[in-house]
Symmetry: C2
Subunit: 255 residues, 2 copies
Amino acid sequence: MNGPVIIARRLSALAPLAAETVALLESLSDIRQAPAGSEMVADQAALRPRFLINGWGARVRFLADGRRQILSFVLPGDGLGLCERPNPIALTPVVAITPVQWVEADRIAAAAFGGDNPDLEDALHIAAALDEACLLDHVVRLGRQTALERLSHLFLELRDRLTRVDLVQDQAFAFPVTQEQLADAAGLSAVHVNRTLQSLRNDDLIEYQHGRLRLLRPALLETLADYRAPMVSGWTSARHGADGHRAPFLSGHNP
Amino acid sequence: MNGPVIIARRLSALAPLAAETVALLESLSDIRQAPAGSEMVADQAALRPRFLINGWGARVRFLADGRRQILSFVLPGDGLGLCERPNPIALTPVVAITPVQWVEADRIAAAAFGGDNPDLEDALHIAAALDEACLLDHVVRLGRQTALERLSHLFLELRDRLTRVDLVQDQAFAFPVTQEQLADAAGLSAVHVNRTLQSLRNDDLIEYQHGRLRLLRPALLETLADYRAPMVSGWTSARHGADGHRAPFLSGHNP
DNA sequence: CGGTCCATTGAAGGGGTTCAATTACCGTGG
DNA sequence: CCACGGTAATTGAACCCCTTCAATGGACCG
């Protein structure tokens, strides 16, 4: 699947697109590239609309003493700067984890938010909502899950996101992420990521070598990590757990 | 400052609003309330647009075994369900932490996203961007900060958000949050929250009693927590730290 | 072949959790 | 007015998940 086609594919899976809209997406041709390690989005710069079509990126945030936190991974098919306001507040640097290719998409943004192409606008809104859902999952991972759960959960999320752009074959996908980067994403130390990965391998839950990752028993992993795939147009999964013996969420001022 | 006025105040601080828009906001009158502990937004329900005008809420997520994570606090002046798509994906329950009051805002959403009132639309977009910035801060807190830093950082965020709706006097504000809820927000145990709070008090960094919180040395706290206030229309603060001795973010395939 | 990045392993230590109990704080009803 | 019940805050002690420090080995590359 060549460059811009991947984008049309992904977006039309989110919302039905008119034939002309698909044609518009597939006509994108202003392809750029950058080497691994480069900043796709600088800290301060205005963010021009674009779609990643090849390689991985990461939104990063730094603390003063050098601690790093990866806020999200940017995968092929993902958009950057595709929101109504040209100058979003939550601007954080995006770095290329691998060599990357993207297409400039000013025309797309203009078409979607100009009022024409409501189908496209809708698809972009859904894409943004999915991004936010991932961010919420990330919060839960970091706040309440163990190392094993965090990595499992993250792997499942990546599997699902990559599946949408057809980059997963039989639960396996290219995984060009350093263990240190993985640590920065999962809020762990690189050493402990290493040990947790080994544990996952020893338990035959994943296969991990040569920059490729395979989930061996995905159903088990989903249980282990309490993973639930986001559902477009509404979060279906009911919270399925027993409340256990925990106190009610809030004091008894209510019935 | 009575009910709906707070909303007009807050939004016009984000983007200049036309006089008629302000009037529209101030004319909101469909006030509802609910006791503490009630679900303002159920897990599955469609999310009707509204503004909280009194009390605190919290977006929560549960794991199967009962672990909880507070994704964000919802403060007076904050909107819920104010996005283009009526059925957002990232739907999570919102519970009332205190007794709450809100105004229904279907008319506002219609006006803003109907194409009239671009000023209002802009303000809502900025508000949404601020929300996202808070979420990103939350990720960094949970992923990379210590207990002391997490709480300090969270307090500073709350101070700034409450300042925007004029609920802070001399670095002090009502803080109706249980230590257990605070733990669920900060990704800590309630016990350790307690100890961390004591540490903050012993160091004369905060005053915390009778459901009121005061930041005693805010500048010091900001340094301690590496806190930087979000700037509307662009994230100004440069990362001010030394890179230390850490390896470059990515391998050396780049200049 | 030496350099660099990355994965891996060992050992020690600490920040945070868990369990358990006590104390303080309210609003309620006798 | 005080005992009562329930929630929230506090404290102690033991434990453990994860971090930190340090060192080794492997893979790729110029």
